[in-house]
């Protein structure tokens, strides 16, 4: 049973009516209401606002790293630690065999957790320097053994804390980005939920960047942007919605701006309504992106990746 978001209340009401009909033995009425609910769901999701997409991208039942990797990779073997200070469970990395392709891949991504205990354990997917240093280490490992890299970005941002600053949060993100840009192996980055700020780009500089249909990708969270640029906002007004709109955070926007390459379709009503279908859709997209990259030489990969970033935004 899916948790309804605020803007889905009308859909929830019709679905409830369907359940009531069924409980009363009115199967035809139930089916009719279900059809109406489905139609309204399709209509709603066909024209989600950027702020509504942000809500969908943050939905607690959206498939997270652990769910995705389980389906994507056979015998996933997590690899821990940054070899300098600690192990950061906000960013998980490891190696395994990509199902359907039968080749090894290194997979790195944010894990937000799915209940209170696991959310705390994974720090809500907000990485510390150790997480980014681990990511850089694993990308370098992948490069040494000619293993392609897949990343799954889903974070509200890197963790803003005293300890992270003390250990070089900024430097860690910068070095991770540099490691991705220098890797002699194919890299595919998927923006699966929230791709926010440096926390996302630290694991998302890639040959191909793909993005779930209802994911959001932004330089700062809509709330953060609103608090800086709409300082004098009147009470009760949702300036974050305005900020999400103004920053152009949706997959379609990012594609139009040339920042991402491919939009990955989600099941009707968002990935959280059918996580397995969503993951299957992602797996197909990854396989399609990976094939042409596997044919490139290491030098060609690095050359093309650099050229892509240098050209980005120049022809807008």
């Amino acid at each position: 049973m899916s948790q309804y978001l605020d803007f889905e209340k009308p859909i929830a009401q019709i679905a409830q009516r369907a359940a009531d009909y069924r409980a009363a033995g009115d199967e035809a009425g139930a089916r009719h209401a279900e059809g109406a609910a489905r139609r309204l769901l399709a209509e709603t999701y066909a024209r989600l606002t950027p702020w509504q997409k942000t809500m969908v991208a943050r939905h607690p039942q959206r498939p997270h790293f652990t769910d995705t990797v389980k389906a994507l990779v056979a015998d996933f073997m997590p690899l821990a630690g940054d070899r300098a200070y600690g192990e950061d469970e906000a960013i998980i990395g490891g190696i395994g065999t990509l199902r359907g392709q039968n080749i090894p891949v290194v997979v790195i991504g944010h894990e937000k957790g799915s209940d209170t205990a696991s959310r705390v354990k994974h720090n809500f997917g907000m990485g510390r320097p150790e997480g980014y240093r681990k990511a850089a280490r694993l990308v370098e490992l992948a490069g040494r053994f000619n293993v392609p890299v897949i990343t799954l970005a889903d974070s509200a941002g890197a963790y803003p804390g005293v300890d992270g600053e003390a250990r070089g949060q900024a430097e860690a993100i910068a070095r991770a980005t540099a490691a991705f840009l220098a890797a002699p192996v194919p890299i595919i980055a998927a923006i699966t939920g929230e791709g926010m700020s440096g926390g996302a780009i630290g694991i998302a500089a890639a040959d191909r960047v793909i993005m779930f249909e209802h994911a959001v990708y932004a330089v700062i969270s809509p709330e953060g942007c609103a608090s800086i640029l709409w300082r004098t906002a009147e009470k009760g007004q949702n300036r974050a919605a305005d900020a999400a709109e103004a920053m152009k955070v949706t997959a379609a926007d990012c594609k139009a701006l040339g920042v991402i390459d491919t939009i990955v379709p989600e099941p009707l009503g968002g990935a959280h309504r059918d996580p397995q279908a969503a993951i299957a859709s992602l797996a197909m997209a990854i396989a399609a992106e990976l094939q042409p990259l596997l044919a490139k030489s290491p030098q060609q990969l690095i050359r093309d990746r650099r050229a892509k970033y240098l050209a980005m935004g120049r022809t807008l």
Partner: protein, 284 residues
């Protein structure tokens, strides 16, 4: 009325009219001392009383650093307001205001000149221009500096100052992080030094990309340097921040910098450094 009285009256009137214009005296933002502006500028905009390093723009920096003449690189052409961004003000209006206030086209200027007789390309970010924020314009200026360094086989020195990425350019501003990083890797490939001088303040996406990737990392005394803003951190951890947190000396102590250098010693330090790094360079 004697001629002396008359002259004195005229003089007093003249002095009263002048009424200490803004540019005659400079007030130190740290200790509040009033310093004769000429003395302030002769001291490289560092307070002679408390050593506070005031924020300075590209032109003052170039003048302090280069031996004599230097050539400012033409500003790169970028799409103006690619998102048609509007908050409480239009982005285009903010740009106009910043240009009028600074007389510069963007928040970063790059120049080609000599430091202690050695050619160097120097990029300077201007905090006075929309908080030095990094968008396509800054990214392109940074990369133009890389290209100039590659063409001249010269080291590239970048003075950072920024609140972070320019939100008004949305995701494109975030993309300046990998874009500038590619530029730095091109310098690595060519065996050219890339030196960063962090000035007050350098935070956000700028710190998390080109400001932390120097072959040598220098900062000016007491410069605020960090990833997350102090307000955000305080809200997150709900406690007071430690003394000196995110200041240059704090970063030095935590291994993030090679040195903290007083502004009056910067030219000498940079000149010696590029001499040493370039002496045995093998051209790519």
């Amino acid at each position: 009325m004697s001629w002396i009285t008359r002259t004195r009256q005229q003089l007093t009137g003249f002095l009263a009219r002048r009424d200490t214009p803004d540019n005659l005296w400079t007030k130190c933002k740290n200790c509040g001392a009033m310093v004769y502006t000429k003395e302030w500028e002769d001291n490289a905009s560092v307070c002679p009383r408390c050593d506070h390093h005031d924020r300075i723009g590209p032109k003052a920096r170039f003048a302090q650093l280069f031996d004599g003449d230097y050539r400012v690189l033409p500003a790169a052409k970028v799409a103006e307001d690619p998102l048609k961004f509007k908050d409480q003000k239009k982005y285009t209006d903010r740009l106009k205001a910043a240009r009028a206030a600074t007389g510069e086209p963007e928040a970063m200027m790059v120049a080609d000149g000599q430091i202690m007789g050695r050619r160097a390309i120097v990029g300077v970010q201007d905090f006075a221009f929309m908080g030095g924020s990094m968008g396509m314009g800054v990214g392109e200026a940074f990369l133009a500096g890389v290209d100039a360094a590659l063409a001249a086989s010269a080291p590239y020195i970048v003075f950072t100052a920024a609140g972070g990425a320019r939100m008004q350019e949305g995701i494109l501003s975030l993309m300046q992080m990998p874009r500038t990083t590619v530029g730095i890797q091109q310098l690595h490939d060519a065996g050219l030094p890339y030196i960063v001088v962090l000035t007050d303040p350098t935070t956000g996406g700028v710190t998390a990309s080109y400001a932390m990737l120097g072959d040598v990392q220098i900062a000016e005394p007491n410069a605020l340097i960090g990833f997350a803003g102090q307000r955000v951190i305080e809200q997150t951890i709900r406690e007071k921040l430690p003394e000196g947190f995110q200041r240059a000396e704090y970063l030095l102590e935590h291994g993030m910098l090679d040195m903290v250098v007083h502004r009056r010693d910067l030219k000498d330090t940079l000149g010696r450094l590029i001499g040493l790094l370039m002496a045995r360079r093998i051209a790519a």
